[in-house]
């Protein structure tokens, strides 16, 4: 194969998903928000649903997520994406509605909204980025910050006596009857990214089939605010986050379990 062959469309093995806009993101080098975005876009492409999809962006580093997807989008107040998604989905039940939220957004200020959207079994999909920190505001402690982890607002390390313990959202949501699918995956290496993609696909398929609330939690990096270089950040996820936030399927309803992709 010569170079010109490689450039031919039929030989192309990797390209920008159609559900992605042709702009570079504002994310820091090594941040896995970009990977998570791409996985969602690939899934929308594969399912052919971009034209009927409405995304709900959060407040956090992914506040501008709407710039990157070739779908209709709204931008919610901090933590309120699940409520906004509820409003949209109730009026447009045939559309695909997803929120994309960070851990501060979803597990702190938006705790009530995420719990109740799940309790109602709202037929939406949530992509939950858990990077154990508040990225956008410059690295403060999040509800998911690990015990002992230093942040700008836990400078001596998270002291669980004073600042409590990290919250495991997937496990909590799995207890709810309205939830069809609640799983945790990680973005720290290609094998895990593949699994994450499959989970995202399953979550959107669950929504398409009307099987209730679906959420994929993705362990993610924040090299800038962790103060760890991008490569070591990936390793840090595996070494430090996975033990606290075990990967796995916490709820797969029987109907979702029957989905074959």
């Amino acid at each position: 194969m010569v170079t010109s062959d490689i450039a031919r469309p039929e030989n192309q093995v990797y390209c920008r998903p159609r559900s992605f806009t042709d702009v570079s993101t504002h994310y820091c080098p090594g941040c896995t928000h970009g990977i998570a975005h791409r996985l969602v876009a690939e899934v929308l492409d594969e399912m052919g649903v971009a034209e009927k999809t409405i995304g709900v962006a959060p407040v956090g580093c992914s506040v501008f997520a709407y710039n990157y997807f070739n779908t209709d989008f709204v931008e919610a107040a901090h933590g309120r994406a699940p409520a906004m998604a509820t409003g949209i989905k109730r009026v447009l039940p045939d559309k695909v509605v997803f929120t994309y939220q960070g851990d501060g957004d979803l597990a702190s200020i938006g705790m009530a909204e995420i719990m109740h959207v799940a309790a109602r079994g709202e037929n939406i999909t949530v992509i939950f980025i858990n990077n154990a920190i508040y990225g956008m505001t410059g690295g403060q402690m999040a509800p998911t910050t690990l015990p002992g982890m230093k942040t700008t607002s836990s400078p001596m390390g998270r002291d669980v006596e004073m600042q409590g313990y990290p919250i495991r959202m997937s496990e909590i949501l799995a207890t709810m009857d309205g939830v069809g699918y609640a799983v945790r995956r990680s973005l720290h290496d290609p094998a895990n990214i593949r699994k994450a993609k499959k989970a995202i696909r399953t979550a959107f398929e669950a929504q398409r089939r009307g099987l209730g609330f679906s959420m994929v939690e993705l362990l993610s990096t924040c090299p800038t605010n962790w103060g760890i270089n991008p490569v070591n950040s990936l390793q840090w996820v595996a070494d430090h986050m996975v033990p606290v936030f075990p990967l796995g399927d916490f709820k797969v309803s029987a109907a979702v379990g029957d989905i074959r992709i």
Partner: protein
Amino acid sequence: MPRELLKGNEAIAEAAIRVGLEAYFGYPITPQTEILEHLSRRLPELGRAFVQAESEVAAINMVYGAACTGARVMSSSSSPGVSLMMEGISYIAGTEIPVVLVNIMRGGPGLGNIAPAQGDYFQAVYGGGHGDYKPIVLAPSTVQEAIDMTVMSFDLAEKYRTICMIIADGSIGQLMEPAELPEMRPIQRQNWDWAVNGTGGRQRRILSSIYIEPKDEEIANLRMLKRWQEIQKNEIRFKEYYTDNADFVVVGFGSAGRIALSAVRAARHQGIKVGLFRPITVSPFPFAQLEELSKRVQGLLVVEMNMGQMLQDVQLAVKGNTPVEFYGRPGGVVPFPDEILHEIQRVATSKLSLDADPRMSWLDRATAK
């Protein structure tokens, strides 16, 4: 449609349905709960969306999402709940989408009580949430007006892509009186060129309240002000009673205005040449009309079920042309017509000053008793 004996809250709810309400999101709170209860039965029966939200914070954000699709949506609450909604209200204002809200006001601040009050005038008229925006605010004084304003509020909200809020106090929400509902209209979701409903192949649309570049936010702010200018030009509504030959005029909105009308009529019987000016749009406020009026009278008496909030707008309107007096019953106390009649008599017979602070003079009189 026939006239029926209708409760204010239920009349508002049913009127909204008749003009195509597609979705309602709310949280129970006295004295507005009948709106939520009525809609919890009627909307599902009609195949439309009803959600009892986990809080007013969630309710307003559900409204925000649903309104982004271009559907006719609303929420309702009472004072403490409306305070919780302020975050979402500001976002909705910043996104420039139409939303109808109802505040059946009660005594406050804080948890206050569940009695009728008008203490949320400032919050409603001056926006309440953060940032620079002005909602349209309507103040009904009867169940019939509450119905008519509900009908009108959807049209106004959509015409100007703005929030239209109805502020009624608990007595209008709870009162039963004969009124006529509009006829049932089919839902006609407009094909708005801003609505977010899936691209279906068209250019994607984004609805957000973010303008990260201050210059862009400034442009958005000015666009909203321009629209407000239009609203002020086109939408001011008020009612005048016996003002043609009046020496004195009472100014009151909602229930206070209605009760004042009884007092005005009684005073007329006694030969006092008094009229009533009742703003229907408290925002936009009828500044020019009141200014005109202030040039022809010997004094104004502002009556409110609060400590003098609209009073400030009246003072702004009359520009010192005529003395302004105040009588208020805050905290959930509803004034009797006799009390207002007594005030009218006082105003008509005493030497009024242009310099006195009407609120402080009222406080002195009230605490002296």
